[in-house]
Amino acid sequence: MTYSFQFRDVFAAWEFLLDGLMLTLLLSAVTMVAGLGIGAAGAAAKVYGGPWVRRIVAGYVEAIRNTPLIVQLFLVFFGLPGIGIKFDAETAAMLTLSVNLGAYSTEILRAGLEAIPKSQLEAGRSLGLSGWQVFRYVVFFPALKVIYPALASQLVLLMLATSVVSQISAEDLFHAASIIQSRTFRDFEVYAVVAVAYLALALIFRALFALLHHLLFARR
């Protein structure tokens, strides 16, 4: 039995793929900003907050890290409307992904903050720096450097994970693939093309993070 590859049908639908790609990128970008914001607040609360704040944040982190992303997504998109809270698919996707990344990045950023020896904070305080200044000038940069590889990995994972949003009909790259598949029945070709697209995106992300690493941490 021979199979003749026919990529033409897949590429003919390039506009679908392009639209999908745009949403995937948009979701990734928005989620990175919002998720890292949540993570920064969560990490600060966990390291510097009172016992109750720490407990609440720990509950959030564990709840998110121990349930599947797709279940979280369905809960937000299909579940919340049941109690009167409705979002469109894109908003539900951004919200869920941000809350999800927020939990993971809380843990990563917390590890960074705790990696800075107390003696560094004391040296800063002893020079008359305020608490905020110690964080800004003494803690932030070395902490970021420690956790940068873990954080960059997590962000690439996030980009790949955005593919689940097709399950609530958000029209991302993977959703476009499903549409093309149902029209052309070229299953292998369409999923191969999309796999390569995700691979390329991931490599581009990693290259950008490597560049950013150089810009941030190279000595001048």
Partner: protein, 243 residues
């Protein structure tokens, strides 16, 4: 009025009493060496002076500021009280220049060019002007400690605290750090130093303070106190460290 005035200071870590009604005065321009066994409260005493440790009872007045009152502006006090630590604690992500200019720039709002000049002057005092663009991990322990001293000096402190600053150094690097201290002594800086360098204490300090069980157990002029201790505890301590 004394520059530093500690009266009946009590400091506890949980059930452990580290300072037990310790009292001590230090005058302007004086150099005081604090000696004693580890665990006798020497370092804690020093750390209470700039408010790094809160105390449970007693009173600490430094340069006219009551340190242990709730409303005290510790940041303002710390600009006038430098401290150098055993482990240097330079900021590893900043160049030597930036280590020194960080506090002048962000705390005192000194403009960049002027801050660099401050760094240069401070580095000259510790003999490391050529290292202004180096990074902490490119320096030896002795050099790092001298940069840490320069970092404090750049804030023009009225008082310098030294917490076992040569204890983490290889023996051959101790001398270069002590030389910097001697130079500062000649310039009239008020200094309190926790040290194990008895020879240095005898040579440079005006007064030696022996701490024991969280108290100032015995004190007096350096040479005399070290040669002829009054208490058996100091005598035992000295015979242990000198032999």
């Amino acid at each position: 009025m004394s520059l530093v005035d500690l009266s009946n200071v009590v400091k506890r870590f949980g059930a452990l009493t580290v300072l037990d009604e310790a009292s001590l005065n230090v005058e302007q321009g004086e150099i005081v060496a604090i000696i004693g066994r580890s665990g006798s409260g020497k370092s804690t005493l020093l750390r209470c002076i700039n408010g790094l440790e809160a105390i449970q009872a007693g009173r600490i007045v430094v340069d006219g500021t009551v340190v242990n009152e709730p409303g005290t502006d510790l940041r303002a006090l710390r600009q006038r009280v430098g401290i150098v630590f055993q482990s240097f604690n330079l900021f590893p992500h900043l160049s030597v220049e930036r280590n020194i200019t960080l506090a002048p720039r962000v705390v005192k709002h000194v403009p960049n060019a002027q801050a660099r000049e401050l760094a240069r002057v401070a580095l000259r005092k510790v003999g490391l002007e050529d290292k202004i663009d180096a990074w902490p991990d490119q320096l030896s322990g002795g050099q790092q400690q001298r940069v840490a001293i320069a970092r404090s000096l750049a804030m023009s402190p009225h008082l310098m605290l030294f917490d076992e600053i040569t204890s983490a150094l290889d023996p051959e690097l101790v001398g270069e750090v002590l030389k910097v201290l001697e130079e500062m002594a000649r310039e009239g800086m008020t200094m309190m130093l926790v040290t194990h360098e008895m020879g240095f204490a005898r040579r440079v300090a005006h007064r030696v303070v022996f701490m024991h069980h969280g108290k100032v157990w015995e004190q007096g002029p350096a040479a005399q106190t070290l040669a002829k201790p009054n208490t058996p505890e100091l005598e035992t301590f000295l015979s242990a460290v000198l032999h």
